[in-house]
Amino acid sequence: MLIDKKHIGMKVPPHSVTPTAWQLKWFAKATGETNPIYFDEAAAQAAGMPGVLLPPTFFFCMDMDKEHPFDYIETMGCDLGKMLHGEQIFTYHKPAYSGDVLDFDGQVTDIYDKKNGALQFIVKDVKVSRHGELVCDMRTVIVIRA
């Protein structure tokens, strides 16, 4: 069944996240990061940063940091077991650090299909800001298999 295109424009409930140095330490360990500005608060401060630097893809993790990160997809009647991550794009405006209060404001901006509906695509655009200043634009493309 094709997703109803009336969902284009749907707002995702906004949320705020304050990333911690603790979580970033585990992220660095998992990804093999050895530069201490990404996991050691003292090293980041010695480099002139207010906190541990958030690595380039961490904004996605924070966008998912809510109780039901895919509720907008369930609202469309899709099975989350058939969901794949198709594409992820970031455009950066300002660096962000542990301890920042970051606001995530997302909206479904496109829905389309390929292969006669065998693959459906949901595009979500999210603005990440800190005290009203834009930090990062993020686009997530989710694929739903038939």
Partner: protein, 139 residues
């Protein structure tokens, strides 16, 4: 880190590459903690078997994080203007990820000298798992 210089770089130049340790179940458990993504597809073998798959597999965003590290080992992170990835294949337990990048375009964007890079995260057999594109500003 050798400082990347716009004038000294040419289309076709490769940036320093690396190969990761094999992706293990521990890697995925650590990534689940670091990313907050505890989806059972990456952690719970009983669950994935019930879905007809042979084994747990890596989070796609783990591979993108490796490619992010490829960029930040080459230039300071604040030089990255944009970074996008397409997920093309699943990464299985035991695979090492070979992360490579090369310059495909020199351009001026919003008054800044930039290079566009094509990045690839592939297994050791050369199967591309993720193909990415990044624009980096250089002095």
């Amino acid at each position: 880190m050798t400082k990347a210089n716009f004038d000294a770089l040419n289309v076709g130049d490769e940036i320093p590459s690396f190969t990761t340790e094999p992706v293990s179940r521990l890697t995925l458990a650590l990534y689940a903690t670091g990313s907050g993504d505890h989806h059972p597809l990456h952690l719970d073998q009983d669950y994935v078997r019930s879905k007809g798959m042979k084994d747990v597999f890596a989070h796609g965003m783990l591979g993108m994080a490796y490619l992010g590290r490829l960029l930040t080992q080459w230039v300071p992170q604040e030089a990255i203007r944009s970074f996008g990835v397409r997920f093309t294949a699943i990464t299985w337990i035991g695979e090492r990820m070979v992360c490579t990048g090369r310059i495909v375009e020199k351009l001026e964007q919003n008054g800044e000298k930039c290079v566009r890079l094509e990045l690839t995260c592939a297994n050791e057999q050369g199967e591309a798992k993720h193909k990415a594109d990044a624009v980096v500003a250089l002095a």
